[in-house]
């Protein structure tokens, strides 16, 4: 079960945040800052997972972005690759996605994310299927 997913930049600014489980605002702020801090301070040699309170954090760093995912009872490697695939999707939608793309098109990033993760479980099957709904909407408007 995926609990939450975050996209943050190198400075720790949250670019995308999606909770799949309702948390109170204070709790969420605390959790986010603790998790982001930990993720950004880990060295490259260390592995991409660690446990934080009851959830396991899986993260994946890209050049200047970091995708963070909190899960319970999931295969960490599969989640790590899911983060990869999410970035791939963004890459093919935006053509070499940059941080600015994400900031300026947060809604669209959310919409793509909603095709990949549905209610906290993995719904991804292929890149095309993840992108079609948004492309249809774009074409329609």
């Amino acid at each position: 079960m995926i609990q939450f997913i975050l996209i943050v930049n190198k400075q720790g600014r949250v670019r995308i945040r999606r909770n799949y489980h309702h948390v109170e605002k204070n709790e969420q702020e605390q959790r986010d800052s603790a998790v982001i801090n930990k993720c950004l301070t880990r060295t490259n040699k260390q592995c991409n997972y660690f446990s934080h309170e009851a959830v396991t954090i899986v993260y994946k760093r890209f050049t200047n972005l970091c995708l963070i995912c909190g899960v319970t009872n999931e295969n960490e490697l599969a989640i790590q690759e899911l983060l990869n695939v999410f970035m791939d999707c963004l890459g093919s939608y935006f053509q070499n996605v940059s941080e600015l793309d994400i900031v300026y098109n947060m809604e669209r990033v959310y919409m793509i994310l909603d095709e990949i993760i549905v209610n906290g479980s993995i719904a991804f099957t292929s890149k095309e299927r993840a992108l079609i709904p948004l492309q249809l909407l774009d074409a329609g408007s």
């Binding site: 702020e29 790590q80 690759e81 900031v103 919409m111 993995i122 099957t125 299927r129 249809l136 329609g140």
Partner: protein, 962 residues
């Protein structure tokens, strides 16, 4: 491109654009940059110099957005709506409160079309949650969109419904969602399945009638539907695997199809087809395979293929590999497959592997060593290397592994490692986990009592943060209590350490009241055993500070609480007060015990009492304790005698076979008296499932053997040389379940030494490995440490003590059928009550006694003393829900006793010349007097006065005259 994919794509776009085609032909878009205004706003916010400035900018912007959205028509001004919503999402990400925008989001979802509708739904999802009141407003919109002929609207509505519709609203929307299961298009069916999964999580009961329909989806050829339905079944199987075992072959077939390239290349990711679906399927198969051996056999060959063909180069294929190995460890796989798994783990753990791989390898090794501990030994050097790794995540994982593979041979080394790691870590979570792991290991596998106590004292010494501190100390002390009270062979050295630690806890200002109470009680029981060897005056000193501190605390709370006199405050107040009384009583009690044991000077105590009497509360229980103590101090001439009776009871000789009463029993039987079944047998007979053999022998000493033969034989299967008298530790370890226990196989505990190493390079590592992997060799099962023989009873009295203890423990076990999951912290809470009950006894005059001065032999009982004496394991009563029925069952025995004594005033305490309060103190020395003996028609040892026997026969209607 596969047929399915083509079909999907072909039917998709017709609704919105005729010419659009997705898939690989799609045009790359370079996003849609927002308007200049939005960009400016973001820039300004980012450049804000301080947090307050940023907050200012955001607040002004939000209120102006609010204003604009209110005034304008949402549909007419699309540009405004889009830019406003982008800004709102942006502010939401910065953790500002944007709940005021929720209503606009709901409106937009209702009125908008296409992208705007999606935007409205998106913002609603971000701002609302199932319990939010505004979800009600969305229900009509959702249902309308579900009914709409527009497929895109259907999909969005299904997705949002899964996210936002909570328990209360599911019934109103469920029929529409179910209809969508038969929609002509795969995408809608897929979304409907996702939605049902969300509904199942919130209201499982409502969905039960629709579950059989789901089976048909397993035959679908669409990967999206398969993914959705597999995820749904994953939840179902994890809840109730047995119900879905018959679907096992279907899942197996799907997995087989995926691996035989049954789906198009679009669904490949790094050359692996549908990897996430495979992972889910493997999880389900693991669940089902553990339930059904035949299915497990069918799964095994596929797993073998999956494991063998996987190259460890791609992370995603590694994910499938890891899941396959995990599944293999769950399905009772044969030796060959397990060896393959072990080789796989070896690769993952090899020194040139990345840390991520090591992490996964450790995870697999944990689950593999649960199936067969000896496999862990094959990777010992790798594990030791992981132990030295700099990554805390790896270290913690390794600790979990060590815990999983601990046995009696290596438990000391493992615990030492855990303690060391505990000292280093700053992670609160791990710290708590480590305490639980250590205490579990210590309790389950401890080989000698000194080490056991040492380990616990080590935990107590840790610098704990105040939050977890009380809980942990509570746990630790209650565990120590169980062992130290049950056990008579603790060396005085470790006992002294233990007492010193208890004193530290008592003196610590941060200790919670329950912790103080518990340690006081334990102190009271243990300190007298030590006698003069321990400077008891230091206790007087700490008792003094404790009493005065508590009183001042009490007064403070009283002042603050008096003002708002709400009922809840009063409740808090009351419980606080009760605790205070308990602690004070306990203090006085302990002092009395110390005086009795001769470790406190009477003059000393008198002096102390005079100065601190005023600080004690005016409450019946406290003054009762005080009276007891004063009474005791006034008769110092009795002290010598009582101390002999109580604390040096090994000098006395008791006829434990009660042979002197045989005649009486035989007479009774001859006169047609029925054989009386002991309490525990009556109890266990009520629990038919327990199937305890009913003893038929009339010899009272026979029943423990015959009565517990089932337990013993099962212990024998484990190779454990259980004898009749087994120490409390064995039984308590069987009985107590905590979060670590459930996962362990009992049999694993009995492996013993034979560890070998094959690497000469690093001697240090080797040493560690040898320590840690002792007992995990293939030979295994060589010798079992009979805990019983380790603590041979010193004499008859001790044996007597142990035997009855054990009876009760085992009795409990049978009654509970040892299936109760007990919370580790739940143990000691009720234990506190014993002193209070004890006090009540004194007040009610329930105490009865007959004492023979000449032989120095005492035989004392009181109604609840038999059940609740402090020398008996206190926790025994508190641990199980059974204690109520157990208690009440004792009650009728006890009432028999009362009748008995009512008819023979000669046996009352007064006749001995002792005062009741004093008696209540040393009656605790005879903790294990068991009332069940009375039911056999026996009350007293040989020295009992004739009047008592007369009384007994009188009170027994079927009894023979003596």
């Amino acid at each position: 491109m596969s047929q399915i994919m083509e079909k999907t794509l072909a039917s998709l776009p017709k609704l919105l654009t005729q010419s659009f085609s997705g898939g690989k032909n799609m045009k790359p878009t370079k996003g849609h940059p927002p308007s200049q205004e939005v960009q400016l706003f973001m820039k300004v916010v980012h450049q804000a110099r301080s947090k307050s400035q940023e907050a200012n900018i955001v607040q002004t912007e939000l209120s102006s957005i609010q204003q604009k959205l209110k005034q304008s028509d949402l549909i007419a001004s699309l540009g405004l709506v889009r830019s406003s919503f982008t800004k709102i999402i942006f502010c939401h990400l910065l953790n500002y409160d944007v709940s005021c925008a929720a209503i606009h989001a709901v409106n937009l979802a209702q009125q908008g079309h296409g992208y705007e509708k999606r935007l409205g739904y998106l913002l609603s999802c971000l701002l609302l949650h199932p319990q939010h009141e505004m979800v009600m407003l969305m229900m009509a919109t959702l249902i309308r969109d579900l009914k709409s002929a527009n497929m895109a609207n259907n999909c969005i509505a299904l997705m949002v419904a899964g996210e936002l519709v909570g328990e209360d609203n599911v019934p109103s929307i469920l029929p529409e969602v179910i209809k969508k299961l038969r929609h002509s298009h795969e995408l809608v069916r897929e979304k409907a399945l996702h939605c049902l999964r969300a509904f199942y999580r919130s209201t499982p009961s409502l969905l039960q009638p629709y579950l059989p329909q789901l089976n048909t989806f397993l035959a679908s050829r669409d990967p999206g539907i398969l993914t959705a339905v597999t995820n749904l079944f994953l939840i179902l199987c994890q809840e109730n695997a047995a119900r879905f075992v018959n679907l096992g072959p279907s899942f197996l077939h799907i997995l087989d199809q995926i691996n035989h390239r049954g789906f198009g290349t679009n669904y490949y990711y790094h050359m692996v087809p549908l990897p996430w679906l495979q992972v889910s399927l493997l999880k389900i198969l693991g669940c089902l395979g553990s339930m059904d051996a035949a299915l497990g056999k069918a799964i095994a060959p596929l797993l073998q293929v999956l494991i063998e063909k996987t190259k460890v180069s791609e992370p995603i294929s590694l994910a499938v590999l890891v899941e396959s190995v995990l599944t293999a460890t769950q399905i009772n796989a044969d030796e060959e497959l397990l060896h393959l798994c072990s080789r796989c783990i070896g690769k993952l753990l090899s020194s040139d592997a990345s840390n991520g791989m090591k992490y996964q390898g450790l995870r697999l090794l944990i689950s593999l060593s649960r199936v067969k501990p000896s496999f862990a030994a094959q990777h010992q050097m790798a594990v030791v290397e992981c132990l030295m790794d700099e990554d805390p995540a790896i270290q913690i994982r390794t600790m979990h592994l060590l815990h999983a593979m601990a046995n009696q041979a290596n438990v000391k080394a493992v615990c030492a490692r855990l303690l060391e790691q505990m000292n280093k870590t700053v992670d609160r979570q791990f710290f708590t986990e480590a305490v639980h792991m250590i205490s579990d290991l210590a309790e389950r596998l401890a080989v000698d009592i000194d080490w056991y106590l040492d380990t616990y004292l080590n935990i107590l010494d840790q610098k704990l943060s105040s939050q977890t501190r009380d809980d942990l100390i509570d746990l630790v002390i209650s565990r120590m209590e169980k062992v130290s009270v049950d056990n008579n062979s603790i060396s005085s050295d470790s006992l002294q350490k233990l007492i010193a630690a208890l004193l530290r806890v008592i003196n610590n200002y941060d200790s919670g009241q329950s912790v103080i109470l518990l340690s006081l009680q334990l102190f009271g029981v243990l300190a007298p055993i030590l006698g003069e060897a321990f400077s008891s005056t230091s206790f007087l000193f700490s008792a003094e500070t404790l009493v005065s501190r508590l009183v001042s605390e009490w007064q403070q709370t009283k002042v603050t609480i008096i003002k708002p006199l709400s009922p809840s405050c009063k409740e808090v107040d009351d419980s606080h007060f009760e605790n205070l009384i308990n602690i004070q009583c306990c203090c006085l009690d302990t002092i009395s015990k110390l005086v009795l044991s001769g470790s406190l000077q009477v003059d000393c105590v008198k002096e102390w009492l005079q100065t601190h009497k005023c600080k004690l509360l005016k409450h019946p229980s406290v003054s009762c304790c005080l009276d007891e103590l004063e009474e005791l101090l006034q008769h110092p001439e009795h002290l010598l005698l009582t101390s002999q009776i109580v604390f040096h009871s090994q000098k006395t000789e008791l006829d434990m076979s009660l042979s002197f009463l045989d005649k009486l029993v035989v007479q009774n039987l001859l006169h047609g008296g029925g054989i009386l079944k002991p309490m525990y047998i009556r109890l266990s007979e009520e629990k038919a499932s327990c199937q305890v053999v009913v003893p038929t022998s009339s010899n009272p000493l026979d029943f423990p053997e015959s009565g517990f033969s089932p337990l013993q034989s099962s212990a024998g299967e484990n190779g454990n040389s259980t004898s009749l008298v087994s120490s409390g530790m064995t039984s308590s370890s069987l009985r107590t379940k905590n979060k670590w226990r459930d996962e362990e196989d009992e049999d694993e505990e009995h492996f013993l030494i034979v560890g070998g190493s094959d690497d000469e390079s690093q001697r240090k590592h080797e040493e560690i490995a040898q320590e840690l992997f002792a007992g995990l060799g293939e030979v295994g099962l060589t010798k079992v440490i009979g805990k019983v023989s380790k603590h041979p009873s010193k004499n008859n009295t001790k044996k007597w003590h142990n035997m009855w203890d054990d009876d009760d423990d085992q009795n409990h076990e049978h009654c509970i059928t040892s299936s109760l999951g007990l919370h580790p912290f739940g143990i000691c809470k009720k234990a506190q009550s014993f002193s209070r009950w004890h006090d009540e006894d004194v007040e009610n005059g329930n105490l009865s006694c007959s004492l023979n001065d000449d032989s120095g032999l005492g035989f004392i009982s009181s109604k609840s003393e038999t059940v609740l004496s402090p020398l008996a394991p206190v926790s025994r009563l508190a641990e199980s829900p059974m204690c109520n029925s157990f208690d009440s069952a004792h009650e009728d025995v006890a009432s028999d006793t009362n009748v008995l004594y009512r008819s023979c005033p000669g046996a009352y305490a007064e006749s001995t010349g002792y005062n009741q309060p004093v008696l209540s103190i040393y009656s605790e020395g005879f903790a294990d007097f068991n009332l069940e003996k009375l039911n056999y028609g026996m009350t007293n040892p040989a020295s009992a006065s004739a009047s008592t026997i007369d009384a007994l026969t009188d009170s027994d209607p079927e009894g023979a005259d003596s």
